[in-house]
Symmetry: C2
Subunit: 111 residues, 2 copies
DNA sequence: TGACATAATGTCTAATCTGACATATCTTCT
DNA sequence: AGAAGATATGTCAGATTAGACATTATGTCA
């Protein structure tokens, strides 16, 4: 496992359980979490820029306030599909989303 | 609806039903299909570059031959989540995937 | 402080998605 | 033609994810 992996997961709010389960987290899973968290941040920024509440945003994209909260939190119960759908429905372009994903996992200081 | 939308959907192999249902397809749905199809192509290219069969590829990413076939076909029953998971598990970087998504929906001749 | 808006968390049932399997349809050989 | 390998298609039971709702927490005013 790479240096700082567990810390990174925990910063992102993930329950990684004991060391045993954690060792089972593959690099692929890590990368996917990075993508999820990046999209989650992009979604929150987008909504905040619109200056609307989670409830209002939820109505516009056809979801619920609680699910929007979970989306923005990068909750494991939210699929990347839903994040993409919400971003696009709210007006993000594929190009914007592509850039977000391309930058996923990079150290924010270097981005 | 934008010009050529239905034709585009049909080229991608989607059953769009009658005109009524088709009119219900929003621009957001179109954009998501573009993303799915782009990722599907990227996955096929990746596997072909590796010179392995769908069955072999399936084992490596923890799926089945039939599902890999559906992934590469951009079948509606395949989630974007699964496409991303398979790409990353097979070694694609977030940056590569980001570029693929950013180019989604663009006219191939211009890309 | 209390009232009010907003955001977070937990939990349901319904809907969607998955791997697996069977089977059919190519492709590429001899 | 026919055997063999690869790919496509259809289906299904089990797993995952969805919106919805209730509840709790966190502001943010007067």
């Amino acid at each position: 496992m790479k240096k700082g992996k567990k810390e990174k997961l925990e910063r992102a709010g993930w329950v990684v359980g004991g060391a045993e389960e954690f060792l089972d987290l593959s690099d692929a899973e890590m990368a996917l979490i990075d993508v999820r968290v990046s999209l989650a941040k992009a979604l929150r920024h987008r909504r905040q820029k619109m200056k609307i509440s989670q409830a209002t945003f939820a109505k516009r994209v056809g979801s619920s306030q609680s699910r929007v909260a979970k989306m923005e939190a990068g909750d494991p119960s939210v699929s990347i599909d839903l994040l993409l759908r919400s971003l696009i429905t709210s007006g993000s372009s594929a190009e914007e989303i592509g850039r977000v994903i391309a930058a996923a996992g990079l150290d924010p200081a270097t981005v």
